[in-house]
Amino acid sequence: MDSTPAPRGHLANASALSVRDFIVAKLSSVRHGKNTTKSASSSFVLRNECINVGVFGQGESVVASPLSHHSVYPAMITIPADVLSMAQLARLRIDEDALDDVSERFGRTLQLVAELEKIDTEGVTPMSNPHDMNQRLRPDSVTESNQREALQQNAPAVADGFFLVPKVID
């Protein structure tokens, strides 16, 4: 996992630090790294490839090699373009003059997760829910009656029982 030399300096040291120290170290590393345009643009290309592939899963092969040979985290220095593509997926709009600030904080938050890299999780079953319970099944019966009027009280735009949105083109 640990073979990429230069940008990993902070992370390697971090294993010996407390979370607080680690975070402080991160802050300076990211502030520093923010202007490193070269690494930034390469991460942008990588990420865009993943996203353009579209369906989840098929994209894995694109990233699989950087993930398995070195760490994904060194390439993780965020730039506005990454933030913008996430914002587009999440349907959020980021003002141009706030972009740098948002990007920096976004990047700082993400750096936190480099902590996980230290943990060996080989063969560990992911845990989605705290309990080992099974899904309960509901009997197939109609229990709801028409509540349209009450439910549409909160709707910003309705007509003839329809919710209205700006014209959609298929």
């Binding site: 694109v62 993400l110 705290p130």
Partner: protein, 492 residues
């Protein structure tokens, strides 16, 4: 009953006074509204008041009391965190997104507590969509800590904690995704219980992170917490993740002694992250429990520090999709004159959500995105299992785990607002408990420079009983929970 004690007594004491006819639910409710009127303008713990319906509910409770059909919570005033849907009462999650949202339904917790005869006074302030540890991200402004108005009350259930501490209500509901009940309870000097995941229905609670969210009581005593948990608990056909287990009688065993109880002390909870003065208070508290016959055992929770990273992937990932429903179409904020569909989505959401919420949506989106799922989300879910296994191993050697609820006492307003990571550290001792789905209790353990410190007790899955018994024993042998902030006019 003296007017002063109406706003400082525990629910258990108030219930006895009501049963004995020493006061009425109406008098009690009015006393609470008076306290709110006097101090909420400075504290800003309550953001919606339901005076008319509360007075009606109080009168109905008084009828039950005189008819002899009252239960243990009949006529007890209560506040709900504004994350619980309340029928025909604004439910905002302290977000511009939901400022005008009035649900046509009650959360299961709300209807259960109403059925128990409580009187709903109103709704409390919180961090927007419960994302925060200071109640500073609310669209309704910050809530101040009643112990020091320049400090935060903690969060996200900061309004609830401040309200109970300030004498606005003996009971309030909270929700806890990473510490949102226990950390504000600690910072405001009250009792706060996060039950086992699945103990209390999530139906009608506005979701933050579905696999972590759990509602619980915020009260003045452990005894009250037991009483309130009793009313809140139990399987709900409408929540697939609520556990179909028999609910024990939480108050029955409260007075049992704790002799022989093994209390695990995780060394990771006493590292240099912790304010040494807090460590001292926790050690004093543990000594008090040892005097009651408990035995201390050293344990390890080796993945404690990774808990933060794990949590800050899983919680934002779940939140990023839970919050997709706020799109300006069926409810919630809608931007003016959208040009097209994308414009409607982007402007409604960017205008409606605050900065921290948007940041977490971005991070969560990233953690789930193609190619990064394995490195982020899946990895975090794997570490989550390791964290859960750490607790299981620890509980082979002890019955309860004890430590601090927060790394320090309440910090000043604005001190951490510009530094999300410093804010995230506030939850370092609480969020692993959510990741593992365990019950956690925070109880007052004394003051440092006049500011409260909370002792956290963590229990085995679905073993709130042992937690409550231990906490109650502590409150029988100490008086930290009786310390009250000085507010001009209420506690002179």
């Amino acid at each position: 009953m003296a007017l002063e004690s109406l706003t400082s007594a525990s629910a258990t004491e108030l219930a006895s006074a009501l049963q004995a006819g020493e006061t009425s639910a109406l008098e009690l409710t009015e006393a609470c509204f008076d306290a709110i009127a006097a101090h909420n303008p400075t504290i800003n713990a309550v953001i919606t008041l339901c005076e008319e319906s509360a007075l009606a509910e109080a009168k109905a409770a008084d009828l039950q009391l005189s008819a002899g059909t009252a239960g243990p919570l009949t006529g007890i005033p209560l506040l709900h965190k504004d994350i619980f849907c309340t029928r025909n009462v604004a439910t905002t999650c302290a977000s511009k997104m939901l400022t005008n949202f009035i649900p046509p339904y009650d959360a299961t917790v709300v209807s259960r507590l109403q059925a128990a005869g409580t009187v709903m006074l109103g709704k409390t302030n919180m961090d927007e969509f419960a994302m925060g540890s200071s109640t500073e991200t609310s669209v309704f402004g910050v809530t101040r800590n009643p112990w020091n108005l320049n400090c935060v009350p903690g969060g996200s259930s900061g309004g609830a904690a401040a309200a109970v501490a300030a004498g606005f209500a003996p009971l309030s509901t909270g929700t806890d995704t990473g510490g949102s009940i226990r950390q504000p309870a600690s910072l405001c000097g009250i009792t706060g219980l996060k039950p086992t995941y699945g103990r209390v229905s999530r139906l009608g609670i506005i979701a933050f992170a579905s696999s972590l969210d759990q509602a619980g009581p915020m009260t003045r005593t452990v005894e009250d917490a037991a009483l309130m948990l009793q009313a809140m608990s139990g399987v709900d056909a409408g929540d697939s993740t609520s556990a179909d287990l028999e609910v024990p009688d939480f108050t029955a065993g409260l007075n049992q002694p704790i002799a022989g109880l093994k209390i695990g002390i995780p060394k990771e909870y006493f590292s240099h992250n912790l304010d040494p003065r807090v460590a001292e208070k926790i050690h004093e508290a543990l000594n008090a429990l040892v005097k009651e016959g408990a035995e201390l055992v050293d344990i390890e929770l080796p993945h404690t520090e990774q808990g933060i990273a794990t949590y800050y992937i899983i919680a934002p990932a779940e939140a990023s999709t839970n919050l997709s429903r706020y799109d300006g179409v069926r409810f919630g904020h809608r931007c003016d004159n959208p040009l097209n569909l994308t414009d409607l989505y982007e402007r409604s959401r960017s205008e409606g959500f605050g900065e921290e919420v948007q940041r977490r949506i971005l991070v969560g989106t990233y953690a789930l995105s193609a190619g990064f799922y394995d490195a982020y989300f899946k990895k975090a879910q794997q570490v989550r299992r390791l964290i859960s296994e750490d607790f299981q191993k620890a509980f082979e050697r002890c019955d309860v785990i004890a430590g601090p609820a927060a790394p320090g006492t309440a910090f000043e307003l604005g001190a951490k607002s510009d530094d999300p990571l410093a804010m995230y550290l506030e939850d370092i001792y609480t969020l692993s408990v959510n990741l593992a789905g365990l019950p956690g209790l925070s109880i007052p353990a004394g003051l440092i420079d006049g500011m409260p410190v909370g002792l956290q007790l963590i229990g085995r899955s679905f073993d709130e009983t042992t937690l409550l018994r231990t906490g109650h024993r502590f409150q029988l042998c100490t008086d930290h929970h009786q310390a009250k902030p000085t507010l001009a006019g209420v506690n002179p």
